[in-house]
Symmetry: C2
Subunit: 420 residues, 2 copies
């Protein structure tokens, strides 16, 4: 297979599949990216061996046998939008490129996600030195509505980490994330990857808009990356999935401030599931913004950390050269092809198992909720395209969301988001 | 043996022995309090069987055989001061009494200290309902130089604990301790033991002086207790030993604020050694007064607690009636006689093993340092009486302290404390 063909196939698949579409990822693991694209787009029927292997990668749920058929229904509405060449041009115009698991610069640390590993990373920034090795990266995350206390600590910690040669990974959001990137940019020495922002939208977009200058600087002096293609909007589902990439890229995930329910805790739980170290910064028991950190400390999910030195201790000794990606990942053997799920936990077929991930909603309903416009109504067909679901799946989901008051009819067969 | 004879013997022994004088406690375990007093005061030689049993209770150090002889030397200077009848009268005049292990009201929780269990408790307050059962007591301790944050939390926590029916145990010091007692007094319902102050000085003294009114109220509405007899001064050694009583009486020990090195951490470590739950309250990473709490959280010695409810969860469910002392202690069988050290960890003969406990000083040198006057000099004989050491022991210790600059000669054979 040619490099270009692999790039084109993965670029297209990253638009066809939502992040962590386990059926799609299983199909790629079974058939390779090029054949998977032909199957997913209906150009070719899945050979029985591929269908069987795909089903084998998925969990042993009853609907495993029909998962691929459901996937094909889900992907079909997006086929007309595929334009991988245009997307690859777009990222190149921004000085970036598409990084794929077949590339030697692919971060080994992501292979710990097993079947959940991203299809590819759309990257802006200087990739000539690759991504930093796992033991040189620390994720620093926290509330968007941070306090002065949290911002101050995030600054101190990230300046200390950057000064010690660590790359700070965060999510580019307001509050703790922004301060983490800023402090790392201010303290990193030239020639190193100052900081990495993992986006929930396309790498061409600056989200949130108020962080545009900061994110431009991250792209110039560090790396800005995303698993969704240029132009993609940030949705709740993509935010939740984005968090697993932050956790997987980092030797330690530190939560600086978090409310009792916070996306930062989701990142911490991804890190814990990967067996990575998790740190939480303590704060006032009267601060709602520290309640999530104290929750992590209390339930034993995180270690109490108060400065950069204590975080560096969690990351372990720094002995590997910064640019040596090949030596990243000693404890698990790298798997060729990039998606061998032989111990992939409980990879959930998106069309089969319903797992609550947010506010009690299933994955499908969350995708659908993200896709529903707030004001003017939209059609089932349009929703199928935006959400990446089959039209029958959209209808079933709308019925559930309507019961919850989360979706309302706004005309004959038009739908918009409820006020709930 | 008569009740009066036991009370008199233990009253006398508590003046003769410093707290945790393991040789003295082993002698009492071997001979019983009355014979132990006769032996310790030289009225009777130790029968070979008693000497052997005493040595058997002590650790297997090389000087075990000479420990009793050294003890007799150490105790001798204090014999002329013995006046147990006067001490018993003193506590009774204050409305209190001497509580001994032979009494059914003796708290079973103290038996977890094995050989280190106090000889007796000099108690002020209403003992008709005994001491609260273990699962109803929580120790709340912390810095003397507390911050407004710490005082506020101590108040909230102790009000919440007292309101839930727990008795708050603390040390009667300024800062966190004082606030813990105050808040418990303010929130406890009538007819319960509002709070317990465990003193490092005699129960007749108010130390520190600024807490006199508070300690009077504790004695009136709760319990004020000490293992040292009326009139005894608070010394560093007695503070350190007092902490083990606070920990042993309490199902949970909570550290509200503590510096990196703090007596409150000593109490927490006693609690951990006893297998009791330890909680630490988080705070600002910029506050030196929370550094000790974060240290406990980081090394896993303590659980993160932020309110009374979380502390109550550590203490376990409250199902036992408040006054039922007999049901206190389910997990270890009570031992008659009160000092069976068959699994007594590493009971250190005070005259034999030198264990550093404070600033690198041995127990003897710490006792001696406590006894040294700051201004005018004193004699070796006087030091032997005050410190509870033999005159040769005092001379050897003075030589060591002089090398450290902690003791200086102030005349022919007079000594005072150094400026170090």
């Amino acid at each position: 297979m040619s490099v270009d063909a692999v790039l084109t196939a993965r670029a297209a698949l990253s638009r066809l599949f939502e992040p962590s579409d386990m059926v799609g990822l299983a199909l790629v693991a079974a058939a390779g990216p090029e054949q998977a694209l032909r199957i997913a787009t209906g150009q070719q029927a899945a050979p029985p061996a591929v269908a069987a292997e795909t089903a084998g990668y998925l969990s042993s749920g009853g609907s495993r046998g029909t998962a691929l058929a459901e996937g094909l229904q889900r992907w079909a509405p997006r086929i007309p939008d595929l334009a991988p060449g245009r997307d690859l041009d777009a990222i190149r115009r921004l000085g970036g490129e598409l990084l794929v698991p077949e590339d030697s610069r692919w971060p080994e640390s992501l292979r710990h996600l097993d079947l959940g590993m991203p299809l590819c990373l759309w990257v802006r920034g200087n990739l000539t030195r690759g991504l930093p090795v796992l033991e040189r990266t620390v994720a620093v995350v926290g509330s968007r509505d941070s306090t002065g206390y949290g911002v101050s600590i995030a600054g101190d910690i990230c300046a200390g980490l950057a000064g010690r040669g660590y790359t700070v990974v965060s999510g580019g959001a307001y509050g703790i994330d922004a301060q983490a990137h800023r402090a790392a940019l201010a303290s990193a020495s030239a020639g190193t990857t100052a900081t990495i922002a993992v986006m929930a939208c396309g790498a061409d977009r600056y989200y949130p808009a108020g962080n545009e200058d900061l994110l431009r600087t991250v792209a110039a002096r560090g790396l800005l990356l995303s698993e969704v293609p240029p132009g993609s909007a940030p949705t709740r589902w993509r935010f939740l999935q984005r968090n697993r990439i932050i956790a997987a890229l980092s030797a330690v995930t530190v939560v600086v401030e978090a409310r009792w329910r916070s996306g930062a805790l989701n990142t911490a739980h991804h890190a814990a599931e990967l067996g990575r170290a998790v740190g939480a910064v303590p704060g006032s028991v009267y601060s709602a913004n520290s309640a999530g950190c104290h929750r992590l400390l209390r339930d034993g999910s995180a270690v109490c950390v108060t400065d950069a030195q204590e975080i560096a201790e969690l990351a372990g000794p720094l002995e590997t050269p910064v640019t040596d990606t090949a030596a990243t990942d000693g404890e698990r053997p790298a798997r060729p092809g990039g998606a061998g799920p032989e111990k992939g936990g409980d990879p959930t077929g998106k069309g089969s198992n319903h797992r609550a991930v947010h506010d009690g909603l299933t994955v499908e309903d969350l995708l659908l909720l993200d896709a529903l416009p707030v004001r003017s109504g939209t059609t089932v067909g349009k929703l199928a395209t935006v959400a990446g679901l089959s039209p029958p799946g959209v209808r079933a989901g709308l019925a559930r969301l309507e019961l919850e008051g989360l979706a309302v009819r706004s005309g004959a067969d038009l739908w918009r988001r409820g006020r709930h």
